[in-house]
């Protein structure tokens, strides 16, 4: 057998649209996995030449440098406004935003909701890691009740800080939205489901139907104070209990 010519075929490695440079996330952060997913989606959909990304401020701030596509960065929370203008000026392009749960859910909530209200045709990748990673682990609107963060040192108390934002469900209530789903990449099967959802969210834009939105639950070992492996379990047990996965809206025409 050994004599037979054996060739190596690459099954997996750095995705083609991921620039060659080290990542700058913490060990075990799922952002890297989501970047792979996005690269694959863009690649497989054949839209790399006319896609434009806009990253919010947060641990995803460096995404513009890491993708081999046109990719801008935005002031904290303002990606939907910037994306709006770009899409209006280049309507033939595919425009998406990448935003953390602080970026979209707190400072940028008004900006984002108004983009939905205006009926923009955009796609948003929403990174829900239940906290502010970049600035050192403060509470985000998505922080679970009882969870300790640097600004909820005694655990998040809904009496004084409210309940978690359920973005995917909220988005689904808006008329101009064509697609809204919540996904994770914390298992290979979920990775594949998330990939399909992401393609759908782009397709709704490309087909001119409406807004496409995908919320990713994403492990943040640093803020959660857990190991990367414990974080998988945390998603499974705690995050999924608060944030159920699923498609909350998927329509092919609006009105």
């Amino acid at each position: 057998m050994k004599e037979k010519a054996i060739a190596k075929e690459k099954v997996c490695g750095r995705p083609r649209l991921r620039n060659l440079m080290p990542g700058i996330t913490c060990p075990g952060c799922h952002y890297g996995i989501i970047i792979r997913l996005l690269c694959e989606v863009i690649d497989e959909m054949g839209i790399e030449d006319n896609i434009i990304g806009l990253a919010g401020v947060g641990c995803s701030y460096a995404w513009p440098m890491t993708f081999d596509i046109d990719f801008g960065s935005c002031p904290h929370g303002r990606a939907p406004a910037m994306a709006t203008a770009i899409k209006r000026i280049h309507p033939e392009s595919v425009v998406f935003t990448v935003q953390g749960d602080g970026d979209l859910g707190a400072i940028g909530l008004g900006c984002f909701m108004n983009a939905l209200l205006r009926g923009e045709k955009l796609t948003t990748i929403f990174l829900n890691n239940a906290g502010y990673g970049m600035t050192g682990g403060q509470m985000a609107p998505t922080t679970l009740p009882g969870m300790r963060t640097t600004t909820t040192p005694y655990g998040r108390d809904p009496k004084t800080t409210g309940y978690p934002l359920h973005a995917a469900e909220l988005v689904a209530t808006m008329k101009s939205v064509a697609y809204s789903a919540r996904c994770t990449v914390h298992t290979p099967a979920n990775y594949q489901r998330a990939k399909r959802a992401t393609k759908m969210a782009f397709k709704k834009q490309i087909d001119g139907i409406g807004y496409g939105f995908v919320e990713f639950l994403s492990a943040c070992p640093s803020v959660w104070g857990l190991s990367p492996v414990e974080s998988l379990q945390f998603i499974e047990e705690k995050m999924l209990a608060e944030f159920p996965l699923g498609e909350f809206k998927n329509v092919d025409s609006i009105d």
């Binding site: 801008g72 002031p75 910037m82 900006c111």
Partner: protein, 362 residues
Amino acid sequence: MAEKVFIDGNEAVARGAIQTGCKHFFGYPITPQSEIAEYMSRELPQIGGAFVQSECEGASIYMLYGGALAGAKVMTSTSSPGFSLMQEGISYISAAQAPCVIVNVMRMGPGIGTGGQQGQTDYRQVTKGGGHGAYRCIVLAPSSPQETFDLVQRAFYLADKYRIAAIVLTDFIIGRMAEPVELRTLEFGPLPEKEWALKGKGGKGGRCDHPAGAPRFPGDLSKGIITFYMHLLDKYQRIAESEVRYDTYLADDATLLVAAYGSSARMARSAVNMARAEGINAGLFRPITLWPFPEEPLRQAALAAGKVLVVEDSPGEFVEDVRFAVQGRVPVHLLGLWGRHNERGGGIIYPERILEEIEKLT
């Protein structure tokens, strides 16, 4: 001669922008400039452009930023409180050196102010950079609808030429007064391609617009903070050397120099006429660019006259730049908003009041 129309300063803003090729406008209503957005909402859809009513001035400036990065000629307009809300965005625009035009039709006072009435109390916030990071914007202050029409076109040119935000500063009076305006297209010469614009990489390498990302152009923040600022300083220096604009009126033989900009310069001009009629050799110095400030020409004119009277409809902001220029070498007097004929929002510093002050000083 091009067609002449009877329009006010607000309409002159909108028409000037369209005349010079602006097809995308982002704005939020606020008195006394909502008419600019309204004009755009009627006209832009007809020429294949887009008018987007933003949800607030913050959104306007971030849309403007996005539009500028997309490589289009873009404009927004607002009035004072709205301009305050734009400061973070202007700072980002300045860091990214994204060319765009911002119009501020000032109204009086801090806070809600006096309900969209006359005032010139945005001088500092507009000229000193109200946002973080020690940037500069070009500031042009027209004093008639015609000049507004022309300067808006120039603002677009300067924005593209220097990759900078160019602000056109008018106010209630200039915005709403109507005069005949000649619809002339100003030609300023060729401009560089915007190869840095985000529009889909289209076969080329992906462009990254990120301060810490791959360098996109000279002076990109990613090259390091000193390189970045030296590039900016050099650019600001070039602007200061080439783009200073001002106007003088009977200043050559003046023994009293009145300094005023925008709407106040109109009243001041009347006052100078009145003073001349009385045999007082008053003259007028009117900065057209508030940044770069015509520091040297003003100093020369002030030294020649020996005495300066600043007129501004504010508690005294522009006067600081005049004092800075004059360096304590001749006396500088201020007639501020206390020169108004009444306390209400509609109060005005009339030429008669300025004349009084001129008489007092001679």
